[in-house]
């Protein structure tokens, strides 16, 4: 074997950050940019959250927000009530939903090898929305905990439909998008039907929720969403390596010893669970699952070990920021954060569509 130049090992340490223990037989590798990017995103998210919690008809100074949340200042009971009961759960929900949608988008783009794929574009969100509205309108007395399960089922059916109709030997990107948009439109039509014929009180409930908003969300919603994230975010991180392999194409992945069908099924379940749970919590917040992975890829590159957490934080930041903007831009009128993300996201989607027009 030929000798290896010495400088080789030093350049490798520049692009990758390696954690390795020989005695524990552990080793991990991420892109060198990841730790700093994650730290910066976390700081930005926290700043947005503090501003968001402080902002409102009853403004609270930022320092007091931090103190109250950390429990350092419990003397002002108004602060405690406004923050803990009204504003904090809402801000946390915005972040959690953004995180889940961004991861779902990253997984979907990776597993379809399609830069245009995202749960809101290929009809997964619309499917989840239909199932959730059906539950609200048809069974109004059912507890909130069941909403994510219905949404999961709706998302899964939509995903399987799109997958089955569009998948043909790898499937061209545009084909998947077209079928997805079609399935999404059908689901939306049924949702409208449900709203037209439903009981007026239940319908108004469903409408607030459908707009893609975190308005009025409380700790109960956090509780309903949390288990889904606790299970499926770690699952997505465990599947990161598989996505890297699948990204090289089925044949290469198979030659490398990946059980392609099995991995793809696991990835699809994870993606559907995360988007279903977030739709069940905050309605259809569009384009986050599309934008966040692209922005994250610009920041840390293609390797999914670093890409998934980065996209998650980007998504969380986007929705938290969109909610803050929605509340402040035309105050006291509140714009749902889903409208804000759509205003920014739709042109971005058109740009991506234009860039991918030849494939």
């Amino acid at each position: 074997m030929r000798g290896v130049p010495l400088h080789q090992s030093s350049t490798m340490k520049i692009s990758w950050f390696v954690i390795r223990s020989n005695s524990l037989r552990l080793s991990f590798r991420i892109d060198r940019r990841v730790p700093l990017v994650l730290l910066l995103l976390l700081i930005m998210t926290l700043i947005v959250m503090v501003i968001s919690v402080g902002y409102g008809e009853y403004p609270i100074p930022h320092l007091d927000v931090v103190k109250t949340v950390l429990g350092l200042q419990s003397s002002n009971s108004d602060y405690v009530f406004v923050i803990h009961t009204l504003r904090l759960p809402r801000v946390i929900i915005a972040f959690m939903v953004g995180t889940a949608l961004a991861i779902a988008g990253t997984l979907l783009q990776g597993l379809t090898r399609n830069p245009l794929a995202a749960p809101e574009i290929v009809g997964v969100e619309a499917g989840a929305g239909l199932a959730a509205v059906a539950l609200i309108v048809l069974f109004p007395s059912i507890p909130i905990l069941f909403l994510p399960i219905a949404a999961f089922a709706g998302a899964a059916i939509a995903a399987l439909l799109v997958y089955g109709l569009a998948w043909e030997q790898g499937s061209a990107p545009i084909r998947l998008i077209l079928v997805g948009v079609g399935v999404g439109a059908i689901a939306s039509a049924f949702t409208t039907l449900m709203i037209t014929f439903g009981n007026i009180y239940d319908v108004s409930q469903a409408l607030v929720w459908l707009a893609g908003s975190v308005y009025g969300r409380n700790w109960e919603h956090v509780q309903a969403l949390l288990p889904w994230l606790v299970v499926f975010i770690p699952a997505s991180l465990l599947l990161a390596r598989e996505l890297n392999t699948l990204n090289l194409g089925d044949q290469v992945a198979r030659s490398l010893g990946s059980s392609v069908e099995w991995q793809r099924a696991l990835l699809l379940i994870t993606c559907v669970a995360l988007s279903g749970a977030s739709v069940a919590t905050a309605g259809t917040i569009g384009f986050v699952g599309l934008m966040a992975p692209h922005l994250a890829r610009q920041l840390v590159g293609n390797a999914h070990e670093g890409l998934i957490p980065t996209a998650a934080l980007v998504g969380g930041l986007i929705v938290a920021l969109a909610d803050l903007l929605g509340r402040s831009l035309f105050a006291p009128i509140e714009i749902p954060c889903g409208v804000i993300t759509a205003v920014v996201g739709a042109p971005y989607f058109l740009y991506l569509l234009y860039r991918n027009r030849n494939t």
Partner: protein, 276 residues
């Protein structure tokens, strides 16, 4: 060395039949790939040579028959176990946008990794080695889509090398490359075979290159093997006529001395007639 036929087989097929949906491509094929040698599969378009290669790499499930790796059935081993011993480079693979050469080559270590052992010293060593052997080390941090076709192909070969398998299958590793890059890739494969004793099986379109680089030649026609053996025995005017439907003369390659096929074709036949 090329006359020694009593070697062991790295890969063997027994009554192997391969099919896509209802179309049978390969029918009851018996083949033994000699270990530590270079084997070339040649044949006209659609004769099933690519399908056979995929069958050998368990990428196509057989309709009937078995593929043995050393002496174990490839379908009884776990797919990861196979991937530690057998690498395969499909034709015209595509990498995601922006993927760097080093990231690609590191992917070759996948079968040797687990959840806790994601980047061992061994992984790093084999990746560096593969980058160096294929002379893409200087390009390691460049995105794959910014490279020339030859460089890109070398990077993909480097990925399969990082996999560190005894057996290497390559489907038309020289397509879309200009002549200089074709020779460069074939020289690289020859060197790997010579210095590391790797078994190499490749589908090649160019008969003369196949004769030059392969120890063992398999000529296929309509899903069956027409002839197999050392190139001097397989490469005959009759074989070219019956397998490719082409009249030709077989002469000695002026450089390597291996058989060289000079096609006749209608134009040269007419020209010869005119000359008298």
């Amino acid at each position: 060395m090329k006359t020694d036929t009593s070697t062991e087989s790295a890969l063997t097929t027994r009554k192997l039949s391969l099919a896509y949906a209802d179309t049978t491509i390969i029918e009851a094929l018996d083949l033994a790939i000699p270990a530590g040698r270079i084997t070339a599969l040649v044949g006209p378009n659609g004769c099933g040579k690519s399908t056979l290669l995929k069958g050998l790499a368990r990428l196509v499930k057989p309709k009937a028959g078995v593929v043995y790796l050393d002496s174990a059935s490839i379908f009884k081993l776990s797919t990861k176990e196979v991937a530690k011993r057998l690498g395969m480079l499909p034709q015209g693979p595509v990498a995601p946008e922006g993927l760097t050469v080093r990231e690609l080559v590191a992917q070759g270590r996948y079968p040797h990794q687990g959840w806790l052992q994601q980047w061992s010293q061994e992984d790093e060593r084999f990746t560096e080695q593969a980058l160096a052997i294929t002379s893409v080390a200087e390009l390691a941090d460049r995105p794959l889509d910014s490279l020339s076709g030859g460089q890109r192909q070398r990077a993909w070969i480097a990925m399969t090398l990082a996999q560190n398998t005894d057996v290497l299958l390559l489907d038309e590793p020289t397509t879309f490359l200009d002549l200089a890059h074709q020779i460069e890739v074939l020289d690289l494969l020859y060197e790997l075979n010579q210095t590391q004793n790797r078994t190499i099986v490749m589908v090649l379109h160019d008969l003369n290159q196949a004769c030059r680089y392969a120890d063992y030649l398999v000529a296929m026609r309509q899903g069956c093997i027409y002839a197999q053996g050392i190139p001097t025995k397989v490469m005959t005017e009759a074989m070219v006529r019956e397998v490719f439907g082409l009249e030709s003369r077989i002469v000695a390659d002026p450089v390597a001395g291996t058989p060289m096929c000079v096609p006749i074709g209608r134009k040269s036949r007419e020209a010869r007639l005119h000359q008298g």
